[in-house]
């Protein structure tokens, strides 16, 4: 006789699968936002489980700024090919042609162009009405208030003061012409849940998450990796470090770490004294910078 017990990972998995299926059942044209990071890797696994033994019934969309780490591009192409996933890569080519770069226009303006505008353009170009994303409520304080099915108006904007009540597991997926819904199946997962699940399911992730000796400079307490010979005025040093979250090269710092395996990372994250986005230059530009970006259409 079974005890009918489910662990918190089982429950999070079951909830995530239910959410993905609801989105697909009620969307006209769904898509999954794929950022190549650990959360995306977990979300893709949930999608595989949701539709097994069939294929994932929607494409993945990578909104590419062009400034990602080479390891991320390499991982993305290999992973999607081996798993037989349909991958779309879109970007704001106009802004990129103009040379938009955080070092020139500032991180906020760069994100607005290369991420937010690029995402909205891509959703419009393909006519996607429901976009699954890997954001978690624990990540950032404005995300703590976001719905699992988060409604966006015709301009892709989020209105935090006017969200639909969300009860039980009954999701309101209705929208009007030109409006869209963002869906977050990992809403209730924490960073350590993600890593425990990666361990349990043996999910492949980008090697940048694991500690290595890397050439870095220190800027405002953040370890910035030296790539393509780019440096600042600061001296270059060699540091054993890893990336706790992944983004664009100019705006993503590393953290000093010895965690070389998933087990090490779980131990490190479980006892972490700093938040997950400590190394993200983009979140530090203002107290409400994430909320502002989300109102404009960012994930």
């Amino acid at each position: 006789m079974s005890s009918y017990l489910l662990s918190h990972l089982d429950l999070l998995e079951s909830e995530g699968i239910h959410i993905i299926r609801e989105a697909v059942a009620e969307a006209r044209n769904p898509v999954m936002l794929y950022s190549v990071g650990k959360d995306s890797s977990v979300m893709v696994r949930l999608a595989m489980k949701a539709f097994h033994p069939g294929p994932i019934p929607f494409p993945l969309l990578h909104v590419d700024t062009g400034y990602k780490f080479p390891e991320m591009y390499e991982f993305r192409d290999r992973f999607c090919a081996s798993a037989g996933l349909r991958l779309l890569v879109e970007g704001n080519s106009e802004a990129r042609a103009k040379g938009t770069h955080p070092g020139i226009v500032g991180p906020d303006a760069c994100c607005a162009q290369l991420k937010t505008a690029a995402l909205l353009q891509a959703l419009a170009k393909h006519g996607f009405d429901m976009a699954l994303g890997g954001a978690r409520r624990e990540e950032e304080k404005s995300r703590a208030k976001e719905r699992i099915f988060s409604f966006r108006d015709r301009f892709g904007q989020w209105d935090p003061k006017n969200q639909r009540p969300e009860l039980w597991a009954l999701y309101n997926t209705r929208m009007g012409e030109g409006e869209s819904v963002r869906v977050f199946p990992l809403s209730n997962w924490t960073e350590v849940d993600i890593w425990r699940y990666i361990q349990r399911e043996a999910i492949p992730v980008v090697p940048l998450y694991f500690a290595h000796e890397r050439q870095v400079i220190r800027r405002k307490g953040i370890l910035i990796p030296v790539t393509d010979g780019q440096t600042g005025p600061e001296p270059v040093e060699t540091q054993r470090c890893r990336f706790r979250s992944l983004g664009c090269v100019p705006c993503t710092g590393a953290v000093a770490s010895d965690a070389a395996t998933v087990e090490d990372i779980i131990r490190e994250v479980a006892s972490a004294r700093k938040s997950e986005r400590e190394n993200r230059v983009i979140d530090l530009t203002g107290d409400a910078s994430m909320e502002q970006k989300k109102k404009e259409g960012y994930f």
């Binding site: 079974s2 009918y4 017990l5 489910l6 662990s7 918190h8 990972l9 089982d10 429950l11 999070l12 998995e13 079951s14 699968i17 239910h18 299926r21 609801e22 697909v24 059942a25 489980k49 949701a50 539709f51 097994h52 033994p53 069939g54 409520r137 624990e138 304080k141 404005s142 703590a144 208030k145 409604f151 935090p160 003061k161 639909r164 009540p165 969300e166 009860l167 039980w168 597991a169 009954l170 309101n172 209705r174 929208m175 809403s187 209730n188 924490t190 350590v192 425990r196 361990q199 349990r200 779980i266 006892s271 004294r273 700093k274 938040s275 400590e278 107290d287 409400a288 909320e291 502002q292």
Partner: protein, 605 residues
Amino acid sequence: MDAAGKSLLRLVTAGSVDDGKSTLIGRILFETRSIFEDQLAAVRRTSERKGLAETDLALLLDGLAAEREQGITIDVAYRYFETPRRKFIIADCPGHVQYTRNMVTGASTAECALVLLDARAGVLTQSKRHGFLASLLGIPHLVVVVNKMDLVDYAEAAFERIREDYARFAQRLDIPDLVFIPVSALKGDNVAAPSPAMPWFGGPALLHHLETLHVPPDRNLVDFRFPVQAVLRPDASFRGFAGRVASGTIRPGEEVMALPSGALSRIQAISTYDGALEEAFAPQSVVLTLTDEIDVSRGDMLVRRNNLPQVTRALEAMLCWMDEAPMRTGVHYLLKHTTRTARAFISRVLYRIDPDTLHREPVPALGFNDIGRVEVQTALPLFVDPYKANHATGSFILIDPEGNRTVAAGMIRAAGTPRSALAAAGLGRERGAVLWFTGLSGSGKTTLARALEKRLLEAGRAAVVLDGDLLREGLCQDLGFSVADRDENIRRAGEVARLFFETGHIVLCAFISPFRAHRAQVRSRFPAGSFLEAHVRCSLEACRKRDPKGLYGRADTGGIPSFTGLGSPYEPPEAPEITLDTESAGVEELVDGLWDRLLSLARLP
């Protein structure tokens, strides 16, 4: 359970303003090391800048810019922490603005409610409301956290007084497990560890209590219910039904029935990415394959033939209205129940419940943050259980089909009495309206009503005339003409009008209805704006002259003792929506005017 796994407990927290709820949550996050140094440093800086003596942990929680600017909490926020044994999800509900909507939202997924109150203030109305909502949403565990014990010198008497008060109130609620814990969130007493300041308290510290609560005791593992989310058909050889087991358990080989078709088959396999399962149980997400090719699609439900839910198109439910625009009866909403969405309308509000006194009050409709018992009719059959027995198949939401807002949350009490096929046929497509013609006998009420009815029917609009003769011949033949009987006659006329109204009819009621109070009573049964009072004005002399039924003649000779206008008074309306003067205008002219009035109100073609 795998080695990396912990159990999961979902909490909802509620408190009134200044009960220290944010401080308590901040304290819990701090004690469980769920706050990070960079976040804590930011809060320390802000606290120092504000000149506070101690770090204000509550500052960790306000997520939105508007909240920090206005110093208020706007919306439910979700927080996460864990202890070595258990992961916790907190739905943190603001206590003041829109508290009902927020708490019902947060409570819908919770297994345990923490209700905070201030040891100095005692049991406030708000604290009782929070308990009522927890009970309404079927949360089995309620922890009353008596906070700010440091400000009452950790006195046992203060705690005991609150405990007795609240326990007395809670006897009227449906809460199987009620626990009281005295704490100081600010100082940390009885939060993570037993407090040396309160040696008189024999119970556990709050975190210990939450960590050892036995959950999930409320999960229904008896009644197998499998709402189908999607049909997976990757190739000709595989046809599986994807879904989350809402309740109960199932094994391969067991017989199942598909609803609504009633077709029977057997479970062939329980398929998952990780291999076939020997058994599936709530709330696992799985794929079921059947031994027969029966017709099953999204929105259908697989069940056991000897353990069926109620199959019904009529519900009685407790409804929490969450939209700023009040409920409208007689228009259609979308009802989402499990994986099934159906058009629905609210046919009747039985009562509203006062969350402070738990008294029931009759109301025509529910407004923002109201909770009441209603009857709902749906265009498709639903497969339901009472919410108390099964949260997953006993809950629904209502969506406004125009703005797509989620306007209400419902908890099913029982399957209701289905209305006639007429109701379903006319369901919600058209907006009903009631035109109530009042005036003296012979003033022309029925003549006008018939003329307008003809015009409406010709335009393809459902319309019906109700008048005194029609009702007194049948439904009201037991009634005479005393004031009490006249009151009852009008009440019945109003109820009949309501039945037609709910099915989208334009109801033309022609009744002398001489008393204002009786007319007001009928009006109160309809949503604002859908009931129009039309005063058919005609002098007594002119009516007497017309006397189509010879009634004035009989009254004059004493044949009808309390005839309106003669032996009994007529109270003309003080502010009728419409006045029709039948002495100065002809029928066609008046009907033209009425048509214009109905045009916008009832969306005439």
